[in-house]
């Protein structure tokens, strides 16, 4: 008989091995799914994973990986700090929206003034916007003990309505014939988050994502605050004894993740998206939760996880167009990734015991 036995110590090997195994299992079972749909599984898997990086048109897809991956990494880094400490910001999508609105608002208010100071001001506004939106659940939690999961999630829907209102009202392009949507910031030089090197995909959001990875790494491994985050998550009582201020930690973690999500929104609206539109948000704030866990809440891990998620999106779209795979199959494929990760993760804390001789 087979039983699960709790390990005395979480297994390091399983902890690092789980994402790799999860990817392998996803490829295997995803392949079966594609085969069941009548497609060549090898072709499908190669299209998703190989084509964007090494295929004929990789010169176009590689920059796209940066564009798709940067907001995921930026948001996930922020979320991981809180998640490590047991502070659950589920509302990054809302903070992403508010950051974008705050940043775009600065640009649209100053249009058509040209100045080198506009873009930095937008970055500041974007970070502040996201930070302020995250402060709502943070302050409510510290003052009244509300549940930050619910409050932050509900605020996503509030943010979506503010977004719709802005796209239809205050930020609507006055030259847009009554159609919703703001001016296109790509056509406003001072506000455009353009590629730093043309067509490289390397816009300021990518740079900030990389900086965030480095900062988070140093913070967690070298800084006292990083220690406080880790110890609070792993042993809350020990944290209390070691003088960690739990309220301060909540404000810091939610605030930082909000600010990073806001930055991601700002870089998106000023660059790849260009416009404040009703459907501006496409779920980065939620996908980043998957990225954070897929990356083991580790900054370097998150970098790879973000790249991997971006790859499945881009490769998935190629597979749809070239192989006729339905979008739903791609979504199932992405879902498998998290599913297998969580399943295999079990073995970090438990091990299988075979033939123990006891009856259950």
């Amino acid at each position: 008989m087979i039983r699960l036995v709790k390990r005395p110590q979480p297994s390091q090997a399983w902890s690092y091995g789980a994402p790799v195994l999860a990817v392998a299992a996803t490829i295997f079972f995803g392949g079966l799914l594609f085969a069941a749909l009548g497609k060549n599984p090898i072709d499908a898997i190669l299209t998703i994973f190989w084509e964007p990086i090494f295929g004929e048109f990789s010169f176009f897809y590689r920059p796209q990986l940066l564009i798709k991956g940067a907001p995921l990494v930026l948001i996930a880094i922020g979320l991981s700090l809180g998640f490590k400490a047991g502070i659950w910001n589920i509302g990054a999508e809302g903070q992403y929206i508010i950051g974008a609105l705050a940043g775009a608002g600065v640009a649209l208010a100053l249009y058509p003034l040209e100045s080198v100071l506009i873009f930095p001001a937008m970055i500041l506004a974007g970070a502040l916007g996201g930070w302020a939106w995250a402060m709502i659940p943070a302050v409510l939690k510290t003052k009244f003990g509300t549940n930050e999961i619910l409050v932050s999630l509900m605020l996503v829907y509030v943010a979506e309505h503010i977004l719709a209102s802005m796209a239809l009202g205050a930020m609507k392009n006055p030259e847009g014939f009554g159609f919703p949507g703001s001016r296109n910031l790509q056509q406003y030089a001072s506000a455009h988050n353009a590629d730093i090197i043309e067509n490289s995909g390397m816009h300021w959001g990518v740079v900030f994502a990389l900086i965030a990875v480095i900062f988070a790494y140093v913070l967690l491994s070298r800084h006292r605050l990083g220690f406080a985050i880790r110890v609070t998550g792993e042993a809350p009582r020990a944290a209390a004894f070691s003088g960690v201020n739990p309220k301060g930690l909540i404000l810091f973690c939610l605030g930082t993740s909000g600010a990073l999500a806001g930055l991601a929104g700002l870089f998106e609206v000023a660059g790849p998206a260009g416009q404040v539109t009703i459907d501006f948000n496409v779920g980065y704030g939620f996908t980043a939760i998957i990225v954070a866990f897929l990356g083991r809440l580790n900054p370097i891990g998150i970098l790879f996880a973000g790249a991997l998620m971006a790859l499945t999106y881009i490769g998935g779209d190629i597979a749809q167009s070239n192989l006729g795979l339905p979008a739903a199959a791609i979504q199932v494929f992405q879902g498998m990734l998290l599913f297998f990760l969580l399943a295999i993760d079990l073995f970090t804390n438990y091990r299988l015991q075979i033939g123990a001789g006891e009856t259950a």
Partner: protein, 357 residues
């Protein structure tokens, strides 16, 4: 090497590699905002794609990507199709407008067709359908049939196309039933069965016994069916599976003739950038079968209206019509011009509530 050069090189390489196989095969791409199984908007565009495949057989290859978010994702998908050798790309949602223009600039030899937008270029056409003609028919039937004098309307986004539909339906309901009232709920989505069902239920709770929808799923039909005595109309697609009641008729977008004609134009080399806005006369808008749940005399009136629009004898926006604020819009006998209709951002007199800002 800069991007344009790279693209050119890639195109040449493609041309050489694919010369033997793909030289006379025209490749047509479709970018969809929803899933092809939505039963509404995207479903009908996909029907159009299938009609292209059937019409041209081996001469044409089509590809599509569904569920493409408006914004950078759509730009990537369009670029991907152009790189893979598409000659003509249909982008079938309003939000694809700026992305279509961006990608079209990079691929001057690829033709683009953007649905429901207003930005054109040498290689970008726009096309849309005069759905408001169908709304007039729905308004007429709704006004005649409602017993509670309350008509519910599920709006997607408060953009001119949707506001035009509301105005057209209201004017024609009011004409046959002065006591009729419209209740409008905005759901801010084109396709979200859960939200659409909630909106339908809320409208029914408020006394609506006719529910019109400008969203793409069949969820409102199901909600009406559950309520039992509530009438609906199919939107974008026939939704005949909900007939003969609650669904009593429908507006069908028939894109097939247009898609075939434009593909033919690319094959012939006669394609040029145009702005197409067709309705009942050309068959781009069709009225789905009016079921027997509608009394014969009302059905006859509705069909007469369809015929009058088909011949051009009747325009749904014919004065006298005032705006909601009481100011004059159209004088007696005057018909609305396309410019005003295209950018319509006001309700007509009698509709209560404000357009969300």
């Amino acid at each position: 090497m800069n991007f344009t050069k790279l693209l050119a090189t890639a195109a040449v390489a493609l041309g050489l590699a694919g010369a033997a196989v793909a030289q006379d095969k025209t490749k047509v791409g479709f970018v969809y905002v929803g899933p092809v199984g939505d039963g509404g908007w995207t479903f009908e565009h996909n029907e159009g794609r299938l009609a292209v495949e059937e019409h041209f057989g081996d001469a044409v290859e089509t590809v599509f990507v569904e569920n493409v978010a408006e914004g950078p994702d759509s730009e990537r998908v369009m670029t991907q199709m152009a790189l893979e050798g598409a000659d003509l790309i249909f982008t079938t949602s309003f939000g694809y407008m700026d992305p279509t223009i961006n990608v079209a600039k990079k691929f001057p030899n690829v033709k683009f067709e953007h649905a429901t937008g207003y930005k054109r270029a040498d290689n970008v056409s726009t096309y849309s359908a005069r759905f408001y003609e169908g709304r007039a028919v729905q308004g007429h039937i709704a006004g005649k049939m409602t017993k509670t004098n309350t008509v519910g309307y599920i709006g997607s986004f408060p953009i001119p196309e949707v506001i035009r539909g509301i105005n057209s339906a209201y004017l024609h309901a009011k004409k046959v039933n002065p006591d009729v009232e419209f209740k409008i709920i905005w759901v801010y989505t084109w396709f979200d069965p859960a939200k659409e069902a909630d909106a339908a239920k809320a409208l029914i709770d408020q006394g609506a016994d006719v529910v019109l929808q400008h969203t793409d799923s069949t969820a409102p039909q199901a909600a009406a069916q559950e309520a039992g005595d509530v009438m609906t109309f199919g939107q974008a697609s026939d939704m005949a599976e909900y007939g003969p009641f609650p669904r009593v008729s429908s507006i069908i977008d028939n894109w097939a003739p247009y898609y075939i004609a434009r593909t033919q134009a690319v094959i012939d080399g006669s394609w040029s950038s145009v702005d197409t806005w067709d309705g009942i006369p050309t068959g781009m808008v069709e009225i789905g079968e009016i079921t027997d749940a509608v009394p014969a005399d009302i059905k006859a009136e509705a069909l007469a209206m369809v015929e009058a629009m088909r011949t051009g004898a009747y325009h749904p926006f014919t004065g006298p019509i005032k705006k909601q604020d009481g100011s004059d819009w159209l004088a007696d006998g005057e018909t609305a011009d396309d410019g005003t209709l295209a950018g319509m951002n006001f309700y007509v007199e009698g509709i209560t509530g404000d357009i969300p800002q």
